[in-house]
């Protein structure tokens, strides 16, 4: 089935290629077989950034295909400042479009579909303070990219998609920051922090990413608690906590692995809840609360050790007292 589709697309692309080669590139838009405008957004930027690249379509070198492909990746990544479409650039980019179809890689197109969805969601984040975490925000985001608001139908989970996308974006940002810090320590340019301080800084950095959306964050939290979203939100939370502990240097392989992550999950969730209703300047109350909670955990672990050693000492003392009593009463003598 996939092969059939690929063949059909390749066939149509060949026909498109022929008609494009026949007509001058600056002509008005031709038949519908060239309407792969879905690639246009990415390729528009590519043409704007690489204005020296000739819009000729007749050469079918593999090298040019690679250029187009890598340029499209760059363009998709740097799509935040997408400007309004330029018909001439659009027309010139069409030859490349039919080119990529000629390579017939279905995998490429699916990758770009997800990238397009990611771009819509990133654009939608701007409208969250106005519309909340909802389909209206996604529709407004799609409109800024030049797409009709009907394209929000692509997001079957609606607002859940938006929130989950935001969460995973924040998590990957945090991971990058932690990796950067780790590299600094490896290179000797920074000092290794104590575990408690490291945890505190990591959680604070992560929670600060919510600050622009803090007004509507309760709505986002409630969306994450919907039954069909719980598996995904739990997955993101657990990977976040795991990353933080990994970069804190935890390599334990016993029960500690679970207790550490459970403790950090508890700290993170409670701090998030405090932050949502915090009204102090720069959320100072929240960071104090975080400090106290981490201190509690640290205290609890030292207390646990102390209790254990005290217990052992007490048992030894009792055994010693029993032996002394036996000696005193003469039960220990062997006659």
């Amino acid at each position: 089935m996939a092969a059939l589709l690929r063949g059909l697309r390749a066939g149509r692309a060949l026909r498109g290629l022929c008609s494009v080669v026949a007509a001058p590139p600056a002509a008005n838009p031709q038949g519908s077989s060239l309407r792969r405008s879905f690639h246009c957004a990415a390729l528009r930027l590519q043409d704007e950034s690489k204005s020296d690249k000739p819009p000729s379509s007749s050469s079918t070198t593999y090298h040019e295909h690679y250029q187009a492909h890598s340029a499209e990746q760059d363009a998709a990544a740097a799509s935040q400042d997408d400007s309004t479409s330029d018909p001439a650039a659009e027309e010139a980019s069409r030859p490349n479009t039919s080119y990529q179809d000629q390579s017939g890689e279905q995998g490429e197109e699916y990758e770009t579909e997800e990238q397009l969805q990611a771009r819509i969601l990133i654009a939608a984040l701007e409208f969250v303070p106005l519309h909340g975490w909802s389909m209206e925000a996604i529709a407004a985001g799609a409109e800024t990219l030049g797409l009709s608001s009907a394209s929000t139908g692509m997001f079957y989970n609606g607002a859940g998609d938006l929130v989950l996308h935001f969460i995973s974006q924040c998590n990957s940002q945090l991971t990058e920051i932690l990796a950067e810090q780790h590299k600094q320590v490896q290179l000797g340019q920074a000092e290794q922090k104590r575990t408690a301080d490291f945890l505190r800084d990591a959680v604070e950095t992560r929670l600060r990413m919510h600050i622009p959306y803090i007004e509507s964050w309760p709505q986002a939290m409630s969306i994450l608690l919907l039954p069909h979203n719980i598996p995904n939100s739990l997955k993101h939370l657990s990977s976040l906590v795991d990353d933080i502990w990994f970069y804190a240097g935890d390599r334990s392989t016993d029960m500690n692995w679970y207790t550490k992550r459970a403790a950090l999950t508890g700290i993170y969730n409670t701090t998030e809840l405090v932050m949502v209703q915090d009204s102090s300047p720069d959320f100072q109350d929240t960071w104090n609360f975080l400090d106290n909670r981490i201190q509690d955990v640290v205290n609890m672990s030292t207390t646990a050790k102390q209790v254990q050693s005290t217990g052992e000492a007490v048992v030894q003392g009792l055994v010693g007292a029993a032996v002394t009593l036996k000696n005193l009463t003469g039960l220990n003598q062997k006659r």
Binding site: R35, L145, L147, S148
Partner: protein, 328 residues
């Protein structure tokens, strides 16, 4: 009890087989159905144009459009009544599901092709209006104490809202169906944002990139060249626009399929004769459903036309399928 049920089933199935055999035999004999001159034409069809199916019959492609036009001209007056009778009112649920999946945002433009009596367009306008009211209510709740700045802003934005009103265009090849639709609109008192256009789905009288949503409900199986209709849909949609198609499709469950076949070939033409006085048109309807490609095949056709993220939902066990694709 079980034995009698089995007897009943067997009798029903025997009847349906006989009926299908009769219609098949009728077609092959070429005389029973009184389609008259057109069947003779199809035998001597050496003029070089390709043929297509009209129900279980084979006709030249140029003929099909005319025949379909006549069918709908005949049924236009009783179309809605027959829909209710044949589907036992479930067609309303199907159309509501279409709107629910569509979830249109306020301000979108809808094109309803083969929209005929305007069912989808009316539902669309109602949906969008209720959405707008909900938004206004939400906005007013959050603005209980507006500042002077907010009030002055409201004065300036009131005109902008007018231009973003949602619009529904109903396009149909058949003037009779559009007439019935206009009468319905007048009786419902709905006229704002609604237009009625005569047009062929294979050659729409609209410019490129005009509409946000293109729907075709129970109409695409009557089109002679389905791929051309899909190409036209792609053309008139804006980038990011959505194509939605509601159509009868293949029932997956074998038991349900048997019942459905029996019901279709036994009951529906009879209902057509009793209520609308037209057996043949409803025979055509049932046969054209069988000739239409199934869910996966139609999904492939939509993808070939150039739509992305194509998906289909089966309604009522596959009796009706809702296909959706995006122009990206």
């Amino acid at each position: 009890m079980a034995a009698s049920m089995r007897l009943l089933f067997r009798r029903v199935i025997r009847l349906s087989h006989r009926n299908i055999n009769v219609t098949a035999a009728g077609v092959s004999r070429g005389s029973g159905c009184c389609w008259g001159p057109s069947t003779c034409r199809c035998f001597s069809d050496a003029a070089g144009d390709s043929s297509t199916h009209f129900g279980f019959e084979t006709v030249p492609e140029t003929e099909k459009a005319k025949r379909v036009y006549k069918v709908f001209e005949n049924v236009a007056q009783k179309y809605d009544v027959m829909n209710d009778a044949m589907s036992l009112g479930i067609h309303r649920v199907w159309k509501d599901m279409l709107l629910h999946v569509m979830h249109p945002q306020p301000g979108v433009q809808l094109l309803d092709v083969a929209g005929g009596t305007g069912d989808i367009a009316f539902r669309f306008l109602e949906y969008v209006r209720s959405q707008q009211e909900r938004q206004k209510r939400r906005a007013s709740r959050s603005m209980q104490t507006p500042s002077w700045q907010d009030i002055s802003n409201n004065y300036s934005t009131e005109d902008v809202v007018e231009s973003q009103e949602s619009r529904a265009v109903v396009c149909d090849i058949n003037k009779e169906m559009l007439k019935v639709g206009k009468q319905k609109a007048d009786s419902l008192g709905v006229s704002a944002g609604l237009s009625w256009v005569v047009g062929d789905a294979e050659e729409l009288p609209f410019d490129d990139d005009q509409f946000d949503i293109y729907t075709i409900a129970f109409g695409i199986r009557n089109v002679t060249h389905i791929d051309q209709a899909l190409q036209e849909a792609l053309r008139v949609l804006k980038p990011g626009g959505r194509f939605m198609c509601l159509e009868f499709s293949k029932v997956t469950n074998p038991v349900l399929a048997r019942l459905y076949d029996a019901y279709s070939f036994q009951m529906i033409p009879v209902l057509g004769e009793v209520i609308a006085g037209d057996w043949k048109s409803y025979q055509y309807l049932v046969e054209s459903i069988r000739k239409f490609p199934d869910q996966e095949e139609f999904k492939g056709m939509i993808e070939d036309a150039g739509f992305y993220c194509v998906q289909y939902y089966n309604l009522t066990g596959g009796v009706v399928a809702l296909h959706s694709g995006f122009k990206l």
